[in-house]
C-alpha cells in the first residue's frame, strides 16, 4: 500500500468512526456525483463524502479532518452555480442534507430556527399556515437548502423589495474549522459587537459550517398584482425598469426575459403563449395592502407604455399570474433544448447602465459565434447572460470562456461587480481582482484567518490563486483604485 493510500484509509477510518460506515462514501463510483455542483464546467474529486445528522457529528468530522490535515467543504443541495461546493485539494465533502429539521416556527415572534439542510421552499410551506413566509426565493428554491443560501447570500426574483439572505438571518450556530462551536447574533436582531452574522452570510462556506440558522419570517402580503409587458426590444424594457425605479415605486420583482429566451420557452413544455416575435418581456410584480395596488400597477402600466411597450397585460387571476411567471421560471429548463450545456453568468451593473451593457453583452456573444440569451433581475441590475454550448467541442468551450471573461470586464467597467447572487466560488476567483485590489483582498484574508488560519475550510474559493498571496504581501501599498 502506498503512503497516499494508507493516509486515505486512515482518513476513512476516522470519518467512519464519527458517523458510521453507512454515512461515509469513499468509493470512486460513489463520489462521482459529488465532483461538481450546478456549475458542471469545473470538477474535483473529493476524498470522501460524509452525512452528519447532528452538530456534534459535524464537530467530530471537522476535528477528524483537522487531525489528518485534510480540508473539508460543506455542501447543501449542490445547486450552486459558481463551483462553491467543489472539493478542491481532495477535500472531504460534509453533506448537510440530513441536517434537515425545522426546529421551530415561532409565529408570535415571526422567526424560525432551521438546520442547514432544510429546503428553501419547505420553510415557506411550513410557515404558510401562520400567514408567514421566508422571503429570499432563489430560482432553485424547490431544491436548494438554507445552509447553501447562507453561504452564498442567495437572492432571487423578489430581492428587489425583500432583500437577500443577509437581511433575513438573525442568528447562526457555526462550527469553526478547529471544531469549536459558536452562537452568533441574536434572534432579536440586536447583537452589539461585531456583526458576525453579517460576515458569515455570503462567505461561501470558508469560515465554518453552519449547523443552525435563525431567520426572520415575513407576513404574506395581503394582495399581489402581476403585470406582463411586451416590448419590441430589450433596451426599451430596460428603459421601463429605470422609469419605475425613478418613480419611487418599489415592486417586489422586475424581471426581463429576452427574445432568444422567449423562443426557447415557447418551444418547450413551459410555453406561456408569448408572441415569438417579442423583443423582450418585462414581468413586474407588486405586493402589499390591497387598497394601494391597483393605482400602483396602473402607474407601472403607464410607464411601460411610455417606454415603448407594444402590449401590457395585468394578471386577472392566479392562473394568469402563474402563466406570466412560467416564461421566467421555465427559462433555464427550456434552454436545455438549445444545447447540452448552459453557462449561467451572474454580474451586476447600475440599473441605468443596463441598456448599454446588454447591447454589448449580445455583441460579445455574436462576435464569439455563441448562442447567448438573457433572463435577469432587471430591478437589481443583476444580469444573467446564459451561454448555451457543447463542452465536448474544445473550440466552443474556449470561446465560451473568453466571452465570459469579456462580459465580466464589461460589467466591472460599467461600475458593476462580477457576481450578484451566485458567489465567486471557484469559477470567478481569478476575476475578483477586477473588482478589488490586493489591499481589499488582504482585509478579507484577515477575516478568513481569524476563523480559519490553516485554510482547511473550503479551500480554493473566492481568492485568486495566480497573483495574490496574503503571506507574501501583508501590506499591499499603492493599490490601484478601481473606479466604482
Amino acid at each position: 500500500m502506498t503512503a497516499a493510500l494508507a493516509e486515505h484509509a486512515r482518513l476513512i477510518e476516522a470519518l467512519e468512526a464519527t458517523v458510521g460506515a453507512d454515512r461515509c462514501l469513499h468509493r470512486r463510483e460513489q463520489l462521482l456525483v459529488y465532483e461538481c455542483d450546478g456549475l458542471t464546467l469545473h470538477t474535483a474529486d473529493p476524498s470522501a463524502v460524509v452525512f452528519p445528522e447532528s452538530r456534534d457529528e459535524v464537530q467530530a468530522i471537522v476535528r477528524a479532518c483537522r487531525k489528518q490535515r485534510v480540508p473539508f467543504v460543506p455542501r447543501g443541495a449542490g445547486t450552486g452555480l459558481s463551483g462553491g461546493a467543489l472539493a478542491n485539494d481532495g477535500a472531504v465533502v460534509i453533506e448537510c442534507s440530513r441536517l434537515n429539521r425545522i426546529r421551530a416556527i415561532d409565529p408570535a415572534n415571526r422567526i424560525a430556527v432551521v438546520e442547514p439542510g432544510v429546503v428553501n421552499a419547505d420553510l415557506s410551506a411550513a410557515a404558510r399556515p401562520h400567514g408567514l413566509f421566508y422571503a429570499p426565493d432563489p430560482s432553485s428554491q424547490l431544491a436548494c437548502t438554507l445552509g447553501g443560501n447562507v453561504a452564498e447570500n442567495a437572492g432571487g426574483p423578489h430581492t428587489l423589495k425583500y432583500g437577500t439572505t443577509t437581511h433575513h438571518v438573525l442568528a447562526l450556530e457555526l462550527v469553526l474549522p478547529d471544531g469549536s462551536c459558536f452562537e452568533l447574533g441574536s434572534a432579536t436582531g440586536f447583537a452589539p459587537g461585531f456583526d458576525w452574522v453579517g460576515a458569515v452570510v455570503g462567505s461561501e462556506g470558508t469560515l465554518g459550517i453552519v449547523t443552525a440558522i435563525t431567520v426572520r419570517l415575513s407576513p404574506i402580503p395581503e394582495s399581489v398584482e402581476t403585470l406582463l409587458a411586451i416590448f419590441p426590444d430589450v433596451v426599451s424594457a430596460c428603459r421601463a425598469v429605470g422609469m419605475v425605479i425613478e418613480a419611487a415605486l418599489v415592486p417586489a420583482a422586475l424581471e426581463i426575459v429576452d427574445q432568444r429566451t422567449i423562443r426557447a420557452v415557447e418551444d418547450s413544455v413551459y410555453a406561456a403563449g408569448l408572441p415569438r416575435d417579442a423583443g423582450a418581456i418585462l414581468i413586474a410584480e407588486l405586493d402589499g395592502p390591497a387598497v394601494a395596488l391597483p393605482a400602483q400597477i396602473e402607474r407601472v402600466r403607464e410607464l411601460c407604455g411610455r417606454a415603448g411597450a407594444d402590449r401590457v397585460e395585468i394578471a386577472r387571476d392566479e392562473a394568469e399570474r402563474q402563466r406570466f411567471w412560467r416564461a421566467r421560471k421555465g427559462a433555464f429548463g427550456a434552454m436545455g433544448r438549445l444545447a447540452p450545456d448552459l453557462y449561467v453568468h451572474d454580474a451586476v451593473v447600475p440599473r441605468s447602465a443596463l441598456p448599454v451593457v446588454l447591447e454589448k453583452v449580445c455583441e460579445i456573444g455574436d462576435r464569439y459565434g455563441l448562442t447567448l440569451s438573457n433572463v435577469f433581475h432587471a430591478g437589481d441590475g443583476n444580469l444573467h447572460p446564459n451561454i448555451s454550448f457543447d463542452r465536448r467541442d474544445p473550440d466552443q468551450l474556449a470561446r465560451v470562456m473568453a466571452a465570459g471573461a469579456e462580459i465580466l470586464k464589461l460589467c466591472v467597467a460599467a461600475g458593476g461587480v462580477i457576481t450578484g447572487e451566485h458567489g465567486v466560488g471557484t469559477e470567478k476567483r481569478e476575476f475578483i481582482s477586477l473588482v478589488f485590489g490586493d489591499a481589499d483582498l488582504e482585509a478579507m484574508q484577515r477575516l478568513r484567518a481569524t476563523f480559519d488560519p490553516d485554510r482547511i475550510c473550503n479551500p480554493g474559493k473566492i481568492f485568486p490563486t495566480t497573483r495574490f498571496c496574503a503571506e507574501s504581501n501583508p501590506k499591499a501599498r499603492g493599490y490601484d483604485r478601481v473606479p466604482m
Binding site: A187, V348, L447
Partner: protein
C-alpha cells in the same frame, strides 16, 4: 503624550493641541485632522510606530459609547471628509465622505427626490459616526438597520492599509461582506472614510398618530400591532405621567398610509402634527441620554417581561416595539444596579443589552457591550489581525478589544 509630541514635526498642521477633552475619564489634548485617505493612512502608520492610540471623531455626539479606553493619545478628526461625491437620482444611490453631517446628506437626498434612510434622532451626527456606531433610532423600523443601508465603503485600516469593500450596486456578493464587519464596530478595525448608500423612495404621504396614556400591557400590545403595519416607519412608546403613550409615524404611498391611519384611528389613536412628533421624538430619544442609558433587546412576544424587569429600576423607559428595543435611563448612582437589572431584562426578553452611557467609574471592569464569552474570544482574534498594536479605540469595543 510624549510619543505624540515626537510625531509633531511629521504631522505638521494636521496636529493640533487643545484643552483636554475627557473620554470616559481619559483626557485627550490633541486632535489630528488628516486631509485625505493617503494622509490618514500615513497618520495611522505613524501612530502605530509611535505606539500611540487614537479615537476617530465625527461630530462627537456619541463619544460616550464604548468601554473606557485603555489608552487614547489623540482624536482623529474626519472633518476633512465632509463631501457628497455623487448622488445618482436615477439609481437611488449616493456616495459621501464619513465627515458629512447627516443633516446635509439628508437635505441633498430630499432635493433629488429621495430619502436618506439613516435616522440619528436629531443627534446632529455625521455619516461616519452613524455607521461606526450603527446608531439605531425610531425610524430604523421603516428604514432598516444602518448595516443594510451601506452598499460599500472605504476604510483605512489601523495599520494604514487603504481598502474598499462592496460597491455602488444594490446587489453584490463579490467577496466577503466586509462592510457588515465595519458598520457598528466603533472604528475598532479601521476608520470608515466614505460609503455608498442605498437611498429610500421619498414618501408620498406621512401621518403621525398618538394614543392616550395607557398601562404597560395595553401599550405594548398596541405597539406591536402598530409597528407591524405595512407603512409604519417608526413606533415609539414613551413614558408619561400615568403610563406609556404610543406615537406612530406612517409613511409611504398615500392609499396605504390612509388605510393604516384608519386602522390606528380605530384603535383609539389620534392624528398629530409630524413636526411636533419629530421634535418630541428626537428630544425624548436623544434626551434620554441622562447619566446612565441602556438599550435592551427583546423578542416581541416577551417584550412585556423585559419591560417588567426594567420598570421600577429605571427612571424612564422608551420602547421601540417594532425593533424589539427598550431604552432605559437611570441616575449615575444607580448604574451598578441598572447593569444587573438590564441583564435580567435581556434574559427575560431573549435578547442582548448595550450600555450606551454610564459614568466611567461604573464602566470600569465591565464590557458595556455585554459580549458573550464566545463573541469576546472571536473579537480579540479579529482585533489582533486588524490592529495588533491597538492604534484605534484601544479597549473600547465589544470584548474590550
Amino acid at each position: 503624550m510624549g510619543d505624540l509630541e515626537a510625531l509633531a514635526p511629521q504631522l505638521g498642521d494636521a496636529l493640533r493641541f487643545h484643552d483636554p477633552i475627557a473620554v470616559d475619564g481619559v483626557p485627550i489634548s490633541a486632535t489630528i485632522t488628516p486631509r485625505d485617505e493617503d494622509d490618514l493612512s500615513a497618520v495611522l502608520e505613524a501612530l502605530g510606530e509611535a505606539r500611540c492610540a487614537a479615537i476617530p471623531l465625527g461630530a462627537g455626539t456619541q463619544l460616550g459609547l464604548g468601554n473606557a479606553p485603555q489608552r487614547a493619545d489623540c482624536f482623529l478628526s474626519l472633518a476633512e471628509f465632509s463631501h457628497v461625491d455623487e448622488l445618482d437620482a436615477s439609481e437611488g444611490v449616493c456616495h459621501a465622505g464619513a465627515g458629512t453631517p447627516l443633516a446635509d446628506l439628508r437635505a441633498r437626498a430630499r432635493e433629488a427626490g429621495w430619502e436618506l434612510p439613516l435616522d440619528d434622532a436629531g443627534r446632529g451626527g455625521t455619516l461616519g459616526g452613524a455607521l461606526a456606531t450603527a446608531a439605531l433610532a425610531p425610524r430604523a423600523l421603516g428604514f432598516g438597520r444602518p448595516r443594510d443601508v451601506v452598499l460599500g465603503c472605504e476604510v483605512v485600516l489601523a495599520d494604514g492599509l487603504r481598502t474598499r469593500c462592496g460597491g455602488r450596486v444594490v446587489k453584490n456578493v463579490t467577496g466577503y461582506d466586509m462592510a457588515k464587519l465595519y458598520v457598528g464596530s466603533l472604528g475598532a478595525l479601521g476608520v470608515i472614510t466614505g460609503a455608498w448608500l442605498r437611498l429610500a423612495p421619498k414618501s408620498a404621504a406621512v401621518r403621525v398618530l398618538q394614543s392616550e396614556e395607557l398601562d404597560d400591557p395595553h401599550a405594548l400590545a398596541l405597539g406591536v400591532i402598530a409597528a407591524r403595519l405595512a407603512t409604519a416607519r417608526s413606533c415609539l412608546l414613551s413614558d408619561e405621567t400615568r403610563g406609556l403613550r404610543a406615537t406612530v409615524e406612517l409613511a409611504g404611498e398615500s392609499a396605504s398610509v390612509e388605510h393604516d391611519a384608519q386602522d390606528l384611528a380605530g384603535r383609539g389613536l389620534r392624528l398629530a402634527s409630524p413636526a411636533l412628533r419629530d421634535a418630541a421624538a428626537a428630544r425624548r430619544f436623544a434626551g434620554l441620554a441622562g447619566a446612565v442609558r441602556f438599550v435592551v433587546s427583546s423578542l416581541p412576544a416577551r417584550l412585556a417581561e423585559c419591560v417588567m424587569e426594567l420598570r421600577g429600576a429605571a427612571a424612564e423607559l422608551l420602547v421601540l416595539p417594532g425593533l424589539g428595543l427598550v431604552c432605559a435611563r437611570g441616575a449615575s448612582a444607580d448604574a451598578a444596579a441598572l447593569f444587573a437589572v438590564a441583564a435580567r431584562a435581556a434574559a427575560a426578553g431573549g435578547g442582548r443589552l448595550l450600555c450606551e452611557r454610564a459614568p466611567h467609574d461604573a464602566k470600569r471592569g465591565r464590557d458595556v457591550f455585554a459580549a458573550p464569552p464566545s463573541d469576546a474570544a472571536l473579537s480579540r482574534a479579529l482585533k489582533a489581525r486588524f490592529d495588533p498594536l491597538g492604534v484605534l479605540n484601544r479597549g473600547r469595543f465589544a470584548g474590550r478589544v
